[in-house]
Symmetry: C2
């Protein structure tokens, strides 16, 4: 119980200005690292401090920030991730997204804790960061090609097959507003359109390689934590299932409970669910599982088949969100078509969630006569039409025909279509919803409403999981001693949402994979072990609140208001079938919950603007 000595933990930022072709390295001191941790914390801080007010997200003044955290590249399971952020071309506000693979760990080994990309290159370039150095290199030969060819060409150019590449395919280049950034070929920094920001800067890729070993204050403690995960692999929630099947194992359960979105969140029953779940994938087309840097969970499916399409296994297989987005939510139970769409999205750098949402949106518009065969170029864009879905993926990536409209995202597309199409755009702030049903768990709905970057399930997944999958004992360390109903959206649920949001932000700033079920106590312990700080839960909660308030403040500065903390109308209507057929959300209850959430956050309960006192309390200047 003796206090640890300060660890002398600090870091380095690589700043890259593509307009003047310059790179520089900036030191960040221990106090800064401690106040913002890394990952989401760094992204939030730099966007708040540096982003010019009302910047065009696709203009040269936007900043694209890649950040890792204190645990990155250590032996800790789940430490192979990084965070990326910018002003979002989808929402016009704060965007951040986390991504797995090996790129983040390699960046750490290259000696950098974050990269801030500024300006816009005159012609296509890529960044090469390695062992403390960086150079901006010509990428004319890479422009227009897919992510795999990009990666392979860069590796060949630089003569090193262990180089890790984060890059974009044609969708990013074509400024599809929900283009993602791919770490390697099957790890997507999916949400918020950061691939379009990268494309707008003429930046095709960032290649990293390094040989530095991260300094850890107490390596034994990290080894013990790794051993704890391995020793308790079957007892810790989720791990065995992720390891055996990846995500998508619970699809049939979700259909049963109502969590599975079907037909653009309109219906609940999906008889074909067994055809597209992870059990079926394992039994039919799966050839293996892959993992991220140093992680024993290895939750990523690899699939292979030749008919009716040839699949390139290098692009991996579909996760739950993809199976639901391009599958059930488009009423498609053709597993191979979903796998092919997944491959295309990864090759083109398209977010599978928003892509599927754009397609299911278009399908509903088409079936309701808001889009015609003329609009679609003759394609029967109906629910269940797998070929049409695949065609749409191609057209969106290339902005061809109706793909150009859908590449704008459902919110903008609905405005252009008019005729009430907005009703079919299942998004918050412009970000299409994750594939989880707020009418089942209104706490998730509140998360969708108030999350700074829109209806991202990753920021609230525990609000879902805690009340649906996990037992009450998981909640006890948070002080929730008695169960309360799944469909409760009273003050206890609001307080729980705040807690899990803060927990997720600690995760996203350290940066740790959300699938590793570390407790608050363990995260504080992990932080202390890596940095040498005498830290604890209270500090981490305060840090997370600082980070969340920074993101909120950025949104306020960019013009977002409480009116943007708004669920789509669909969730206030009942599903047309399934267990949630008579269970719409109650708008009055949701508004009350939103107001209490503001109160708990120290934000004005009407406007949602952080109180000046809250900014002062959190040292936000």
């Amino acid at each position: 119980m003796a206090k640890q000595a300060p660890g002398g933990y600090n870091g380095q930022i690589l700043r890259v200005n593509l307009s003047d072709n310059s790179t520089s390295v900036e030191a960040i001191d221990e106090l800064f690292c401690r106040k913002y941790l890394g990952g989401a914390g760094f992204v939030s801080y730099f966007l708040w401090k540096e982003l010019p007010r009302r910047t065009d997200p696709l203009g040269p003044d936007n900043k694209l920030i890649f950040a890792i955290g204190p645990v990155t590249a250590t032996q800790l399971p789940g430490s192979g991730r990084n965070c990326i952020g910018a002003k979002s071309p989808l929402t016009g506000g704060f965007a951040k997204t986390e991504v797995g693979g090996f790129w983040g760990a390699e960046l750490k080994r290259a000696g950098f804790d974050a990269i801030i990309i500024e300006g816009k290159a005159e012609k296509p370039v890529y960044l090469w960061a390695h062992d403390g150095e960086a150079s901006i290199r010509d990428a004319s030969h890479l422009w227009g090609i897919n992510t795999k060819e990009t990666r392979d060409t860069i590796r060949a150019d630089l003569g090193d097959n262990l180089i890790r590449v984060a890059g974009i395919g044609p969708a990013g280049e074509n400024l599809v507003r929900y283009a993602c950034i791919m770490n390697g070929l099957y790890d997507a920094a999916g949400r918020g359109g950061l691939g379009a920001v990268m494309g707008s800067k003429n930046l095709k890729a960032i290649a990293v390689r390094g040989h530095k070993v991260p300094k850890i204050a107490n390596p034994e403690r990290i080894k013990e934590m790794r051993k704890f995960v391995l020793d308790n692999f079957d007892q810790l929630p989720g791990l065995r299932n992720y390891h055996e099947r990846g995500t998508g194992a619970w699809m049939a359960v979700y259909e049963n409970t109502g969590n599975l979105p079907v037909r653009n969140f309109r219906t609940g029953l999906f008889p074909g669910v067994e055809k597209i779940n992870a059990y079926t994938i394992k039994d039919t087309i799966r050839i293996g599982m892959e993992g991220c840097f140093g992680c024993p969970v290895e939750c990523k499916k690899v699939v292979k088949f030749e008919e009716p399409y040839s699949i390139d296994s290098a692009y991996g297989g579909p996760e739950y969100e993809t199976l639901a987005s391009l599958g059930s939510n488009c009423a498609i139970d053709n597993l191979k078509a979903i796998c092919k769409a997944n491959e295309l999205c990864n090759a083109y750098s398209l977010d599978t969630i928003s892509t599927g949402a754009a397609i299911s949106f278009a399908m509903e518009c088409f079936e309701n006569g808001l889009l015609s065969l003329k609009d679609t170029g003759g394609i029967e864009l109906r629910f269940g039409n797998a070929d049409a879905m695949l065609k749409m993926v191609e057209m969106i990536a290339r902005r061809e025909g109706i793909g150009d409209l859908l590449a704008e995202g459902t919110s903008r597309a609905a405005q252009k279509i008019g005729k009430g199409a907005e009703e079919f755009a299942i998004q918050v702030k412009g970000l299409e919803a994750g594939l989880h049903e707020p009418r089942l768990t209104p706490g998730l709905g509140l998360g969708y409403m108030v999350n700074p970057h829109g209806a991202d399930h990753c920021c609230n997944i525990e609000a879902l999981a805690f009340t649906q999958v996990k037992e009450i004992k998981e909640l006890i360390p948070m002080g929730i001693l008695e169960p309360f109903p799944l469909d409760d959206i009273g003050a206890r649920k609001v307080a729980l949402l705040k807690l899990v949001q803060l927990k997720q932000l600690i995760n996203d700033s350290l940066v740790i994979c959300m699938y590793l079920p570390y407790t608050f106590e363990q995260m504080a312990d992990i932080t202390a072990a890596v940095t040498g700080w005498d830290t604890g839960i209270l500090e981490q909660m305060r840090t997370a609140e600082r980070i969340l308030t920074l993101a909120r403040s950025l949104n306020v500065r960019e013009g977002l208001t409480a009116a943007d903390d708004k669920l789509p109308q669909r969730f206030y209507q009942p599903k047309t079938d399934g267990v949630l057929a008579n269970k719409p959300l109650d708008p009055a209850k949701m508004d009350k919950a939103k107001s209490y959430y503001y109160a708990l956050m120290g934000w004005d309960t009407s406007t949602g603007v952080p109180l000046p006192e809250k900014l002062e309390e959190l040292d936000i200047t």
Copy 2:
């Protein structure tokens, strides 16, 4: 890191109705124990649930509650305390106070976790609780005698010299509104007038004795914690000093910084400070140090001298609050007179803080012509008059002459005197202020303002200590990474006050002595070790917030409002000399801080009433 199995922790309440002469034992289950812990938590809960609205504090419907906590009677240093609560005859609202000694541990060994006293006995009685049994016994022969004779007579009556007695002297019988309850002869449950409540019930004492050994889920962990305290005795803040000198060692430092109140908080310089501090006591009249049950700190002075007064060493010696209240704040540097007054207060069951405050109040009234020689019965009630001070203690305890007026407390006395005497009543809600200066540390002032039971320093002592004595490293685990000024009363200080209030309430519910500097982490660890619960900081914070909100809610029900969260005018005026001569508190800043404190607590920012959502969140029904 494996989770602990539930410990099966539960408890027993002894309920005593003095009106119908009945006793009963009620079981409390594990969930209840976990939601309220013990001590302050039990007191707050039972008063909230059971106290009839607008009860006369000195009437039979008031309830007097004694409660211990999960750690009581274990080997943990600082575990020899108990909490007592009731509706206060001073404030008309929630009162609770903690007290050391051996009584709490003996109650635990007798098999009870709390005693709820109801009704009023027809004639004087005492309660005898032992080994799971209880009886109400005649105390006619005890009425009117001092605490020592009471204790000794009960021990003789029952034939057991190890019986522990909590009781009152004449001041409690005479319903002095700030009469205390004495555990033994030198441990006072001082604040709020609980001795008067006891007297109003014709209850002279509670004698306890038991042989049960408390069940501890993980006794090894408690042993380790004891070892940690012993091994780090010199490094842990305060312990060595408390052990060597008790409180009062810092009086000269306090005079230097401005913290020491002089002449009813009006002035700052006190040349005689060295004559009455703990160093001088040690070097002159001290004959030993005593401690509470199982505690290695042993912070309690024992003094002895024969001239000019004969001192009974059994009543111990003066602590800091007494030295400042009956000493510097009355401008008295006559150490022996202060020791004699301390003895009298302990013998008569008078709170030394409120007693000293009443006397310094009267001295200022007298010097300003608001009280005359006729009022005082010919006593020159001037600052510095030690004989007058001693005489006043006697007169207050017996309600003789002006003592009858001063026995009402400064707030009521000021109202009766009129002529602006209110200016000299240094109290909040009717409770006289602890002997620490808000003009030095406005965070303490805010604590005085908003604390449910008035200007009690014990609820905020860390707000003082953290910013004055301790180094910034003590704050780091709370997420305060950068120092901010002592005289700051901005949002950071408000948030810190909330944190230390909650910490103190965890302490007061477990029940642990505040001098043992356990961290949040250690308190959670201790709780887990004793109960077997898989608990943590977040649960404890939530529990503490529940307990604080219960006390606030009780006050609201009893008619207290935001207007009662008000500092005396004196603190908005500068001291007339010393380092704080030009540093009055700023009323606008204090009001802003109060409003933000309400916001952080989830109370209406204008009225200070807990929001319905906050009650729902905390399961308060």
